[in-house]
């Protein structure tokens, strides 16, 4: 789908905020819109839904024009699913009536599927007020699935939840692309959610799109503005190639190599997304025989990001043809290893986070 928006809105505090984006959003998979508070993420979502009406916009979804110079399709005529931060349900209706409110909610079989998928059977006769934040969001997701949207919009759906509830809801979100054959736009300011959920990323800053691409590209090139340097890292898409039952390890293969990871409980052939933080990769010239490190990948230094007033630097590495890693080491170590673009080195991976 294609989106072009120019929106000047007066700020309550005076002055005006301008949102200006011109992007293509992939027709499938989760596109994360990432940025700090006030970068215009939620405004972009509200414009896509027709809740905010930009002065000038071109919004085309699956061949249907939702807004152009002369037309503006009102929100209720756009087939969208919208999950808000907290209140995504009508407060005076039971969960069941929320599922069935409005347009044709599909067949009973669809309802049964969505209810089962999200595990909300026992919640259907309760009012939103009686549900926890996580339960409300699951009902809202079921509702969004049922409405067979042509565009699914999620506005920080986890931000009102505590850590445990977030973990509970994430698997449902990860499965969304299998359930819905439409663009899914997911607004967040959490790098962790981007790493877990995104196939594509748009980075917004002060109303402008400053970077976009696949999550692996953007994470590896450090174009996601992440607050703490310790959060930098890469995401690798891997397939489970074999299991080692004796040590509870699994072999995860990616385009340019493989790694041993703790058995994620996925059968061979299953797809696993891994995140490797830059601080969890150390560098060495020789293959150390006496070391606890399991995974050691040959790599080439692409470039080194450093500044004279910092102790640490960021080393960009290439593995094989297309895979990237990031390593955060001290500037002193980098000098001692005589690192320079083109150097060959071993990347020693201390730990790997299994995202899905």
């Amino acid at each position: 789908m294609h989106v072009r928006i120019a929106y000047a809105m007066a700020q309550p505090a005076g002055g005006e905020f301008r949102l200006e984006v011109d992007v293509e959003i992939p027709a499938r998979g989760i596109t994360c819109v990432f940025g700090a508070s006030g970068s215009g993420k939620s405004t972009l979502l509200r414009c896509l839904a027709g809740l905010d009406r930009p002065q000038s916009a071109w919004i085309k979804v699956e061949g249907e024009i939702w807004q152009d110079e002369t037309r503006l399709l009102p929100t209720h005529s756009r087939r969208i699913g919208y999950v808000f931060q907290d209140a995504s349900l009508l407060p005076h209706l039971s969960a069941r009536r929320n599922l069935h409110y409005g347009r044709d909610p599909g067949s009973d079989a669809d309802t049964a599927d969505a209810v089962k998928l999200l595990g909300i059977d026992h919640l259907l006769d309760k009012n939103p007020r009686q549900l926890s934040g996580g339960e409300r969001q699951r009902v809202a997701l079921a509702r969004a699935l049922l409405s067979r949207p042509r565009l699914l919009l999620l506005d920080e759906p986890l931000s009102a939840l505590d850590v445990a509830r977030k973990q509970e809801l994430l698997p449902y979100l990860q499965r969304l692309p299998e359930q819905l054959d439409c663009p899914i736009v997911y607004v967040t300011h959490s790098p962790d959610e981007v790493a877990r959920l995104a196939a594509h990323v748009l980075v917004l800053d002060e109303g402008r799109c400053v970077a976009r691409g696949s999550v692996t590209e953007l994470m590896a090139s450090r174009q996601l503005p992440v607050n703490a340097a310790g959060e930098s890292g890469v995401v690798l898409e891997t397939a489970i190639a074999g299991l080692d039952a004796e040590w509870n390890l699994a072999k995860a293969e990616f385009a340019d190599g493989s790694m041993l990871i703790p058995d994620p409980g996925v059968t061979a052939g299953g797809l696993i997304r891994l995140r490797i933080l830059a601080r969890d990769i150390s560098l060495s010239h020789a293959v150390e025989a006496h070391s606890s490190i399991l995974n050691r990948l040959p790599a080439t230094v692409l470039r080194i990001e450093e500044s004279p007033d910092a102790a640490m630097c960021m080393v960009h590495l290439q593995v094989g043809e297309n895979s990237r890693l990031l390593s955060r080491v001290s500037r002193k170590s980098a000098r001692r290893l005589k690192l320079a673009p083109g150097s060959s080195i071993f990347a020693e991976i201390k730990s790997v986070a299994i995202l899905q």
């Binding site: 809740l51 929100t75 209720h76 919208y82 209140a87 009508l90 005076h92 409110y101 409405s147």
Partner: protein, 231 residues
């Protein structure tokens, strides 16, 4: 028999007046309250002030201007005259018009506050669920504003029951037509029938107390939208 026939007639007339006025007020007041709660027009301030005028004006002022308007030469009088209804001054219908104006803020403001308190959220959710403006209004706004409708109706009804000045100005004192309870009490006191006046006045005190008890007691656990005047 506690009350003589003429008093019963006054009570019945009062209830009929208050019921008619309250129903019409809900019809007129709901769209007005919706507009006041949601518009960004510059007209909002002036209109809100006009709606609130009966709160501060002496009923005699309101009654005086209404009397002029309802008289055969006044704007409403000319209209009703042209329609063959004659002047509405000193009629039950005239009293209904007066009561509507007099009790307007008591109905509009609680409903307006309830619409306002609801915020945009539920309406936006309903829009994303595919509901158009009318459906949103009837299936979301009205149910969510129910406490406002309840307190608005009760206050509008009770306030109409309690009106005196406007009635005296535009209704006079015609038994069965415009002699409501408050006027009846006035009559009794003027005639030095203190015992009868006691019965009726005491009944009014009990009635008003019970109404306010319902408003503050049952709705009080939630915020009572009607008790916060102004916007």
């Amino acid at each position: 028999m506690m009350f003589p026939a003429e008093v019963l007639q006054a009570i019945w007339l009062t209830l009929r007046l208050a019921t008619t006025a309250t129903l019409l007020l809900l019809l007129i007041g709901t769209p007005l309250a919706w507009w006041l709660a949601r518009t960004h027009s510059w007209l909002r301030g002036p209109v809100a002030a006009v709606v609130a005028l009966p709160l501060v004006l002496p009923p005699t002022v309101l009654g005086f201007y209404l009397l002029l308007a309802l008289a055969p030469a006044g704007p409403i009088g000319q209209l009703t005259g042209a329609l063959g209804l004659g002047s509405l001054a000193f009629t039950f219908e005239g009293l209904v018009i007066g009561s509507i104006l007099y009790s307007l803020p008591f109905v509009v403001q609680p409903i307006q506050n309830a619409f306002h308190a609801m915020g945009d959220g539920p309406l936006e959710v309903a829009a994303t669920f595919g509901a158009g403006p009318w459906k949103r209004f009837f299936t979301v706004a009205i149910p969510l504003a129910r406490p406002g409708f309840i307190s608005g109706s009760i206050l509008g009804f009770a306030h109409t029951v309690g009106e005196f000045g406007v009635v005296l100005m535009i209704g006079g004192n015609i038994p069965g037509e415009t002699r409501v309870v408050s006027v009846q009490i006035y009559e009794q006191v003027e005639a030095l029938q203190f015992a009868e006046a006691h019965w009726l006045a005491g009944s009014m005190v009990v009635f008003s107390f019970l109404v306010l008890l319902v408003v503050y007691g049952s709705l009080g656990r939630r915020a009572v939208p009607g008790m916060r005047f102004g916007s």
